[in-house]
């Protein structure tokens, strides 16, 4: 049976090469993050300094949780979900591992943010998140064509028919709730009250539907709609607004009258991380002020790194100051942790809005 014997050799060789390639692999850090949070030059410098290879996977909040849920917390060594989405995901799916704060150079991090994240990502007495990048969502407005837009509900103004865009996701529900004079965050613990607020928002969004050109889902698609002038006002992230502002001064990010929605993206260890040390090294590396400033330039958002603002270019600082006078900065509504179960209620509302004629 020569063919069979040959086959056997082949198997042995294959198995041997496979085993060899695993052992020969250098240390790698598999990072699950957002676009712009791990720019190429930062990754290269880290690789040169530590010898650890970084593999970057771009993602978003829901996708990160879904990916980690599917593997029960394996496949990545470090992830970056927003701080309000950590506790519920941990409670439901057990996909994260507590942070060892002693391994983090906390002096590099703005104390108020560190404390806030520590509080919001605590589950059963353990801390899961360290703050990295923060920003807001609010309004991107073409000041020439849609000067009237000062708050989320202004998007429903008749003068803007067919030239408005927002996402059908939870930030839209929260933003409209605030603009309608409610405080959804205060109702997080009270399902009935929250449902009443959602009903009110649903009615408004269904009403507003004729104004919407398209519900955007990818950031780049929205930027294109704004660039071409097809959309003149949208609900979106601040960084996108500033990016457009650099191309066209007419367009910029506006903090809504009822308050921009503030988020903090964090560092979290997936439960089955295989390179914990490398993950801590990466966190401490990117939180250095100069490195953090480079991430700010690539992502368009500021970081929680103490003193990194001094290294950020003046354009972005000027754009930030213009969008956020002190009063608007104080008015930011920071997302508290989402209790499990709320997202199901919100999902039904979003579905009904989408289906409404």
């Amino acid at each position: 049976m020569r063919p069979l014997r040959k086959f056997r050799y082949l198997t042995i060789i294959t198995a041997a090469t496979a085993a060899f390639s695993v052992s020969a692999q250098a240390e790698t850090l598999r990072l699950l993050t957002w676009g712009g949070y791990a720019p190429q030059d930062v990754v290269e410098q880290f690789e040169k300094e530590t010898g650890i290879e970084v593999k970057v996977t771009l993602s978003n909040n829901e996708d990160m949780i879904s990916k980690l849920r599917a593997t029960r917390g394996a496949g990545f060594d470090l992830a970056q979900p927003s701080q309000d989405r950590i506790v519920s995901a941990q409670a439901d799916f057990n996909i994260y591992k507590p942070m060892d704060m002693s391994k983090i150079k906390t002096a590099q991090i703005i104390p108020s943010m560190l404390a806030a994240t520590e509080k919001n990502t605590q589950f059963e007495g353990e801390v899961y998140g360290v703050p990295h990048v923060w920003g807001t969502s609010g309004l991107i407005v073409n000041r020439k064509a849609a000067a009237t837009v000062k708050d989320y509900t202004d998007l429903c103004d008749d003068s803007l028919s067919g030239s408005v865009s927002y996402r059908l996701k939870r930030p839209t529900l929260i933003g409209f709730a605030f603009a309608l004079g409610e405080d959804p965050f205060a109702a997080y613990g009270d399902t009935e009250k929250y449902q009443r607020i959602l009903d009110k928002v649903e009615e408004k969004l269904v009403d507003c539907k004729s104004n919407v050109k398209a519900y955007w889902s990818g950031g780049d698609a929205l930027l294109n709609l704004m660039r071409s002038g097809e959309v003149t006002a949208a609900m979106a992230w601040d960084a996108g607004g500033w990016k457009l502002n650099s191309e066209n001064p007419e367009i910029t990010f506006v903090a809504p009258a009822s308050g921009a929605l503030g988020w903090i993206d964090t560092f979290v260890l997936p439960r089955k991380t295989k390179a914990e040390d490398a993950a801590y090294k990466w966190i401490n590396f990117v939180m250095q002020p100069e490195i953090a400033a480079r991430i700010t330039e690539s992502a368009g958002n500021f970081t929680a790194s103490q003193g990194s603002d001094d290294f950020v270019n003046d354009t972005l600082k000027a754009q930030f100051k213009e969008s956020f006078p002190q009063a608007d900065l104080d008015n930011i509504n920071w997302y508290p942790p989402v209790p499990a179960g709320l997202e199901e209620m919100e999902g039904k509302v979003l579905d009904r809005v989408k289906a409404a004629k």
């Binding site: 829901e62 879904s66 439901d92 996701k169 071409s228 097809e230 997202e343 199901e344 989408k354 289906a355």
Partner: protein, 294 residues
């Protein structure tokens, strides 16, 4: 195992060969299709009662029938897929007939390859191509303004017609290939005989060409229908603010709502209901599945 006496050895060898050849198919079906589906059924029969606690329940299936939104989405998706399939057939049939019966030699190959070329780029790129053409600041709107037919930009994107165009374009090839193959196998002398016996073009088409091409038509229709029903990209990108598509709903349940139980139930329902539609289609046209697929 050394070489034994002729008879028994060759039989074992034959059996071994049979199982080895069958192994990839069995592994493929078992590991990638049957096992995941069994798991899907099990997941779909759970209900989350509290964090990390699940109970057996039919509630996910009940939701589908009780909430008109999901039910309507499915009906809408199925109806649009059927319409897209029929339109594809209507466009592809003359094309295939021309390729198979009218042309021969190089022009025939050339035309066939022309049908194939769009499939050398990915579906995403093709869909973005349509977006560039149809959007308000796009090519068609610009050309119409330049020609003076309209004086304001028109939005051709983000509606059901755009979805339909995208779907038909995506599935053309899958209709043309089986049609050309079956029409090729039709003996030309049968068509000539039909004319000699005094049949009109319409008559020849109806009683000779179409009955012969029926298995090809049905297999093309099944493939196109299934592809359209399961399409995710085209309806999501070209569709407007009230365009609902069932696969999009499944994606949303799995990825953005973290509701695997509901998503799995939808997935199973999609499989069952689409199989029923195909079965009904075969019954109505009196075709058997084995004949269509051979």
């Amino acid at each position: 195992m050394s070489a034994g006496p002729g008879g028994s050895f060759s039989r074992t060898q034959y059996r071994l060969g049979f199982w080895l050849l069958l192994a990839p198919v069995v592994l493929w079906l078992g590991l990638l299709i049957i096992l995941p589906h069994i798991d899907m059924v099990l997941v779909s029969l759970r209900e989350r009662v509290a964090s990390r606690q699940y109970e057996f329940s039919f509630s996910n299936y009940i939701t589908f029938f009780a909430e008109p939104l999901y039910w309507n989405t499915f009906v809408r998706t199925a109806v649009m897929s059927i319409v897209a399939t029929l339109l594809t057939l209507m466009i592809a049939f003359p094309v295939s007939f021309y390729i198979a019966k009218v042309l021969s030699g190089r022009p025939k190959m050339a035309l066939f390859i022309l049908c194939l070329i769009p499939f050398w780029v990915s579906e995403l790129v093709r869909t973005y191509g349509w977006m560039i053409l149809l959007r308000e600041t796009g090519l068609i709107s610009g050309a119409l303004q330049w020609l003076g037919f309209i004086d304001q930009p028109v939005e051709l994107l983000y509606n059901d017609a755009a979805i339909m165009v995208g779907l038909i374009y995506t599935s053309m090839l899958f209709m043309v290939v089986p049609l050309v193959t079956t029409l090729d196998s039709l003996d030309n002398s049968l068509i000539e005989a039909g004319y000699d016996l005094g049949g009109s073009s319409w008559h020849v088409m109806r009683s000779i060409v179409i009955p012969h091409a029926m298995p090809g038509i049905m297999s093309g229709c099944i493939v196109v229908f299934m592809l359209t029903l399961g399409n995710y990209l085209t309806p999501t990108l070209l569709g407007g603010k009230d365009s609902l598509w069932f696969t999009e709903q499944i994606y949303t349940q799995f990825i953005t709502r973290f509701n695997w139980e509901q998503g799995a139930a939808f997935g199973i329902l999609l499989l069952v209901l689409s199989s029923l539609i195909v079965w009904a289609g075969l019954k109505v046209t009196k075709q058997s599945f084995t004949r269509v697929m051979s």
